[in-house]
Symmetry: C2
């Protein structure tokens, strides 16, 4: 790891051979690096094609068009939310899979929104220009928010495209992203959970892997399949060892440009809290699921999500406990920037600004530590992990925010976001009362554990009841019904004030305390950090230019790397697994859950070419949110679909390494082999391959 960092450091000065680090902005792509290291010309046409064929799944993942008729491929675990919402006790699509015989059989998802990025504008000067030096943090925050909302509203009205101002470099730059939006999205195909998630939590973030982690959807416009000009040609051959590959997708969060003190704050406060919360929720979901098979069906996607987060955050936490990782980070902080400052003539003025900004960010952490738990619990709602509560809060806040000018509203209620918000809020997807009960009781209990049973906020929330009695009371709500939610939103503040619905009353009651915590966060943490990181970014850009891309923000990025294996525990790990391997692993694990094969796979072994590549790895730089990202070859063809990292890649939130860290993809040849031999979907295969 140290060796590689040394190369990176040198590289930053002398520009020799770079590592494959980087989740690059599409408007600031690494053309020079690709040219130099791989002799690849990243043309505007290649980039535009990649951008317009890439799809964001608004529930937290990526995907891509793979036919001119709006066919989209993503992971099974990204389609899972829709699969679950389309399921009933009698028809479990998440577990058993689905294949539409004809387009007429494709199933409309209740609340899935997809975005395709059309345009990027740099609006940094406009956003920062709204903030005057003499402003106090609260004023600065308000002015900045008003400007962002105004830019978005103007853009939406002018272009009719979804328009989001994205904060980059933690406040060093602001870009306006405009998206085409699809809200009529239909399920085309999904395999069985047992092969999509073969190995379950055990094999999650491990390699070798054997997962057909795919699902297909189709975007519709005006009731007809969307006709798209940009889509990825499905490569029948797929990725080969040593290939240069590209990944386009929507990495969620990285923390590489955060200061050391911010990372230590994550290590000592944020992550321990997060892990405690996830473990409590995971235990509650496991217990709920074990009570009956139908419970397990209801809880399964929640459980997958929580277990996956727990494992990812555990990996992050282990990374921050590893002195080697912190050393790498310290080298970047202590040597890279200040050292350049020292050795670069004329850079002295930056030095003070940089040190001052670093100190201010450290101070912010001390302040945040004093109210981070209640802020997370009450305002971020981690104490109320209930769909009904989420709806109730939106209903209460939306009605009161709607009466304010656009620029003064809480960000999620700005005009340009209301359509997407209401699409979720009025979703007809099922809500399971007993699952709500289990989750909310776990949340209220966790609240008390974190703040203490005698804390005034806890007493207010519990209202003189035990957690279980309080949950009984709250779940007598009528918000299960989307029509009731609509009625309240349309009735405005008056309807909310008149409501005696227990969950509405609850959301109303705790709203002043929650808003107060949000206000503190905005003015004491968010705005000061943005200003300080803005200073750091100025130093960075002046000295290094944009040679280091911004941290991930769940917006479209381009990564690249090489398809190659690695060594672990003295063993060589080949770049790809085969279909033969899944049968071997299942047998070794005695076909016990989570290593049970679906019947179709157990029975169909003889039909398969067992040497077909199944999953493979590359060095490209990915993180959570990249799930479902297309993996492309030089020709821009689809050679695989990213679905995971190995455990060595779990520290990539903080530092990029490629000695052992890899992202993991399903191989396009494996996908075709499975669809052709095991699934009766000739139409889908023809649509993908043209024959």
């Amino acid at each position: 790891m140290r060796t590689h960092l040394a190369i990176l450091l040198l590289g930053t000065f002398a520009m020799p051979v770079f590592s494959d680090e980087g989740m690059w902005l599409l408007n600031d792509p690494p053309r020079d690096r690709l040219k130099e290291k791989y002799g690849f010309d990243l043309t505007d046409a290649w980039l535009e094609h990649a951008r317009l064929a890439s799809v964001r799944f608004n529930n937290g993942g990526s995907g891509s068009f793979v036919s001119p008729n709006g066919l989209i491929i993503t992971n099974h675990h990204i389609g899972a939310d829709a699969l679950q919402k389309l399921s009933t006790p009698e028809r479990d699509l998440f577990r058993d899979g689905f294949a539409a015989k004809t387009q007429a059989d494709e199933l409309k998802c209740p609340d899935l929104e997809l975005n395709v990025l059309q345009w990027i504008d740099d609006v940094t000067d406009q956003v920062n220009g709204a903030v005057k030096p003499e402003m106090k943090p609260a004023e600065a925050f308000a002015a900045r928010r008003a400007k962002m909302s105004a830019i978005e509203k103007y853009s939406t009205e002018k272009t009719a495209l979804r328009s989001d101002v994205v904060t980059l470099y933690q406040g060093g730059a602001y870009h306006l992203y405009r998206y085409t939006k699809y809200t009529d999205v239909r399920l085309v195909f999904a395999p069985e959970e047992k092969i999509a998630a073969f190995g379950g939590d055990v094999d999650n973030f491990e390699f070798p892997r054997f997962n057909l982690d795919i699902s297909f959807f189709r975007a519709y416009v005006d009731g007809k399949p969307a006709q798209v000009r940009h889509w990825f040609k499905f490569s029948a051959e797929g990725a080969k060892e040593g290939d240069l590959v590209f990944v386009t997708g929507h990495p969620g969060t990285t923390n590489r440009l955060e200061t050391m003190e911010k990372l230590k704050h994550r290590r000592d406060i944020t992550l321990p809290y997060t892990l405690a919360r996830l473990r409590a929720m995971e235990a509650a979901l496991i217990q709920y699921g074990e009570r009956a098979p139908e419970n397990k069906r209801q809880a399964t996607t929640d459980l997958h999500r929580v277990a996956n987060s727990r494992k990812a955050f555990s990996g992050q936490y282990q990374g921050l406990l590893d002195p080697k990782v912190l050393d790498m980070k310290a080298q970047v902080d202590n040597q890279l920037l200040p050292q350049i400052v020292i050795i670069t003539p004329g850079s002295e003025p930056y030095q003070k600004n940089y040190r001052d900004a670093v100190r201010r960010i450290a101070d912010v952490q001390d302040v945040y530590a004093t109210f981070e738990k209640p802020h997370n619990l009450l305002e971020n709602g981690t104490a109320f992990p209930s769909t009904l509560f989420t709806f109730a809060r939106h209903v209460v806040r939306l009605t009161s925010e709607a009466d304010k000018p656009n620029g003064e509203r809480l960000r999620e209620y700005r005009d340009s976001n209301l359509e997407s918000l209401k699409f979720e809020l009025f979703s007809p997807a099922p809500i399971y009362p007993e699952l709500e009960r289990a989750k909310l009781q776990a949340g209220l209990t966790f609240l008390a554990e974190q703040l203490g049973g005698g804390d005034p906020l806890v007493l207010k929330v519990l209202n003189g009841k035990s957690p279980s009695q309080r949950v009984d009371e709250l779940l007598a709500s009528k918000l299960y019904d989307a029509a009731e939610r609509k009625r309240l939103v349309e009735g405005g503040v008056k309807a909310i004030e008149a409501s005696t619905d227990p969950m509405i009353v609850f959301a109303r009651t705790i709203d002043p305390a929650a808003r107060e915590l949000r206000k503190r966060y905005e003015t004491e943490v968010e705005e000061p950090e943005r200003q300080a990181y803005g200073e750091i970014a100025k130093v960075r850009f002046a000295l290094l230019g944009k040679s280091i891309p911004p941290d991930a923000t769940f917006t479209l990025r381009l990564a690249y790397g090489v398809v190659q294996g690695y060594e672990a525990e003295g063993q060589k790990v080949p770049f790809a697994t085969t279909f033969g391997g899944v049968y071997e692993r299942a047998e070794k694990q005695k076909f016990k859950e989570p290593f049970e094969l679906p019947k179709r796979w157990a029975d169909g072994k003889a039909k398969l070419d067992l040497a077909t590549p199944f999953d493979f790895v590359s060095t490209a730089d990915t993180i959570g949110g990249n799930s479902g990202s297309p993996v492309l070859n030089r020709a821009g063809e689809f050679v695989g679909i990213n679905f995971d990292r190995n455990r060595f890649g779990l520290v990539r939130n903080f530092v990029y390494t490629d000695v052992q860290a890899r992202h993991i993809s399903v191989h396009s040849r494996g996908i075709l082999e499975a669809l052709r031999k095991l699934y009766d979907v000739p139409g889908l295969v023809t649509e993908l391959t043209g024959h």
Copy 2:
């Protein structure tokens, strides 16, 4: 609940009808209450017989003799530790059960010690007499400890019996307990885990239940079955609805006599910490177990234990969040004692003492809060959940303590305890390196989560490594081998100082910090609490006598109650389940784990009388540690074996209620029916029934 408390309060004054509350001392039994409420004469002979036929399992449970040839019955989950240690990858006795064909086939347990209580002496005056009013807490603690060790040593030397001074009423009384000890204990019979723990974590602490939670062992003396004069006759008929029943056993811990501030400290500090720890450990064990079938076998008893604790502590925590439970407790605190003080002529002097003691205990909680986490983590060792570490610490401490006078040693190294300690320390039971790794890594990670990655203690423990690297380093120890542990203990301090074994070096390195925390606990918490509770006990005894028994202390107690059902969620829950019920429940759960029946039971349904009672409930007052306790009828016959409480009984740590709270037992008729019809053990049946 309130109604019942009112009766209790009145009862304490006027002695009318009592509830069945009470884990009574065998030397202070509730003769009057039994006479009055049930017309039962509790004779000395009945009590002596019950005492001498009751057995303590030193690993945390209860049992009883059920034949003159030293045959002992306990729960499967109490025998589990021995079953696990006797198992190998090829022969999984915990999962598959065991039946010795002849006595020669009975399997010797590697480190199981059983105790039978022979004698109780009140030594309160001696112990308290060692403490002079002018002593500072540290001196008082040392003087008290020295006196207790001296009493025990004298008793051991005089009687050759295991001798323990037991602290009762949190420091209000001290009794000397003398035990016969059995260390040659052999496994006779155990059923399959699937029927012993049918319903697993889902049904744990629930009723109706369907568990054959039993196992049989035999005590040996000089290589021959122990011949015992006192053993319980096995009732072929068993418990009937409405019967008065008795439970003798070793309840572990209750907190009913603790002050309100102590309970709030538990609610706000101790229990949230404990729950976080158990969830972290449970998650680690589940993940370890899922990696391979052999892993699951290794981890299974640890996992059962942790999951059971998590559920029990969760129930306690929910109880302390329930205003009704705290109200009941407040009524006892605020009305019972002070009100008596006020209304009883001549009691004024007690009033000040009582209030003063309550205040001192509250102050102690504030002090303890400042170092409770590091004390738990380092000194209690919750950060190092590793068998090797436990051994290393004992080896390091035992050698250094052995050089001190008996009265000055840490309590566990007093002369009278060394034989039992060495029996554990030199156990040949297997230790699994990969399981050690998983547990220790989880522990070190939890340590960092709790104290922060930059805490000096954490840095000292991790020694510049990541948790996983540090674990690799520590597990290169040679302490897996009992002979090596023996060699070090025999080599004394010199051998320890010369040792380069990484686990020994580690235990040595952190010992000063751990001892410092222990010292603080002893002088700032333990001794001040004992003195304050001693004052409260004086008030209590003076005004109420011993009408309220002391909190549980894992010593022999007598409880009594009535076999009866209850109502829950508007439904009547009958007092007993039947064999028919287990088949119905398994079918309803589609025979999915943890509701899978063993093959013997699935195949054997037709052989069974399905109306046979399986499990039943009574109002007797039990808690964890009572597992395996015999349930006796008026004639002192064995009519069942306690194995659990229902969830309403989880608040019994703090308050006794009998509206819905019940303890759960396997019915003696059910045991015989299963042994006769499903298990090929005619010898065992004959030994139990005489025919």
